[in-house]
Subunit: 150 residues, 6 copies
């Protein structure tokens, strides 16, 4: 919410809008298994999440399934690249202070080829927006980043 | 937090990390005045914010000034483009349900040339992460987008 | 999170579970127009919401439409009565401190025939769970209740 | 916050309001011990909570005792059944993302004879209101439900 | 959550604990009317709050009355001075981003003789803990402080 | 947000404002080591925090370093005593429900000579403002207080 200084002369027209592209699955550079082999934190998270999701899947709750589906859709390749949207998921997760969600999106971003400086810069936005209450989550996120990229 | 399906064979190495670039002021395509002339919602927000910030500036509080400075830094051009970071600010603001912050980042993104579909896709991430409690804020955000891009 | 005292001898079996019923639209006792005629607060809320939703509808965003749809589904008659779920929506909205959401669910509950003491008791749960930060929203909720039931 | 469609002709009068009933302790079908024997997750939660509450009781803080008392009161049988209010407590806890609180209210609801579909439908309201950030808590709630009802 | 550096040799014993003092009403230096005459923001807040509280009082809800009572108790003179606890209420309100609550506690603190630098330093804690999302509320708080102390 | 009753005749002038004092490091009565020797909960927290901060330090992220610096500044001796500000940090942490942050500020307050009744009274403000959702964190805080002061 800072003030902005460098202003350029305003052109008459806004850049022509890109048409929303079709949503499609992103191309992962790395499998979840690759990530789990690289990082113990990631491995524990992925295994625990799989075990707990099995429970949810078994319950076969109509509304939960629809919510999972819409959630999946929100991060597909679209007008914005999947990479960017996973990093947005990371920022939202850090602001809302959910470790599981931070792990999930940091791993997804890694699998898509996002670099460590890009992950850090995203976490910086979350830190500034969300304040020092984010710091304990930031510390745990850096612990994961260290194992993934270190 | 959805499960992921499309996985590609894992390459041996992670893409070489880009060096963090120097931070610099982004190049705005539009001035605040241009935006205020285009949108009544933007105009009222910009004027009210300026009036209230004058009060804060006058108080000359050391820690507030440092916080404003760090806040300004977080959205400069860096490893990630300023456009992307303003949209991250938008996602965080919508998740945390702060109308003023949503207006601020949506206007900043507009000034940097972000398209409406890009703004909407960012808000979609916030809606899915933050849930229906985000909807009243989404409605007001669309009201602004309509004036800016409509 | 209080401790519980009155405990009865435990029966051997849990009550047989009801099958989840088909979801269906609830039967409203009152139209939105009826509510708007009765309460000025409700009228302003309903009109503003309609105006802003028109904007959102016009944008025709795929993911937003799907989210609205799943949101609509969550409050249909089901295993739990629609009345109960609207009151749950009210509790969640008050805990999360969203005035628009409080108005929406209090009006929906009214339209389904929920009584004022039922609305107040629901708000009590929200007050105790959410704390004094809920009080300003409670005040505004009571202002609406007074117009609807007074 | 969805729009509503099925509207019936508005009757002239709102249903006569029930008088608020006296608050009284609910009749539990199951003891905490029964629940702890059935579910390992419940057992660990109940034991840890008892151990920590002993500390709080010992401190004998006036205001904390009064708060615990008011908290206890909010879930008694009243105008709304205790079952409904425990499920409201569950919805609020899931929206506010507090695992201990979710466990507490899901166990209380179970002890009062609430069925699994009723618990799931309550969690659905929390999921839609609170968004994907609720999912990690939903997973852990289903893990408990599986042990209690499975 | 910063690291700490200046450490002094540790004494063997912790300072003898003061007994919790009896709670008693604080001595206000200024009436609400005095504040309302001084600040237009305060006047509007105080009047609106009085009007809305009349509604709540009229409803005579048992649990709400008890909650108001416990809330009143929390800010009385005790082990900590009332001044300090009003400022804690201010910090909590700013962190949780509730304008009405910020106005309430800033006015209470003013009435007890708290100085502007003390109010600002309290808001600084809230800003650092809560992040930039607190800034719009900080601006409005400074607007009130300007009218009260300016 | 309760109403206030005891009002004294309003003096004509507000007490002369103290000049903001220079910020300086507070004088700790106890080292972190002393605290870790006294409390197992504190020891585990301090060690884990040190290990994770080492990771963050190594990353040497410019914006994180600046944020840590500003965070450190917010709790120095100033217009308000460091003791008071650590207790404000405790209130904010409990309201925002961050166990790590609660441990941090409760330990800092202890190290500065804050008494147990002062810690409890601060937590009371957080409990009343934040509601029953704070209770699980309050329990864990009392567990630490018991080890530190018991």
């Amino acid at each position: 919410m800072s003030s902005t200084s460098s202003e350029h002369p305003a052109p008459a027209e806004h850049p022509a809008e890109r048409q929303p592209q079709e949503r499609k699955e992103p191309a992962y550079l790395f499998t979840e298994k690759h990530v789990a082999d690289k990082s113990e934190i990631a491995r524990r998270f992925i295994e625990s999440r799989a075990r707990l999701n099995a429970n949810v899947d078994k319950a076969n709750n109509f509304l939960v399934k629809r919510f999972y589906n819409i959630d999946h859709n929100a991060y597909l390749e679209g007008t914005l690249p999947a990479k960017t949207k996973e990093l947005m998921g990371l920022v939202a997760s850090a602001c809302l202070r959910c470790d599981d969600c931070i792990y999930y999106h940091a791993i997804q971003a890694y699998r898509l080829g996002v670099t460590r400086p890009e992950q850090e810069e995203s976490l910086n936005v979350a830190l500034v927006v969300g304040g020092s209450i984010v710091i304990p989550h930031l510390r745990r996120a850096y612990d994961l980043l260290e194992e993934l990229y270190g």
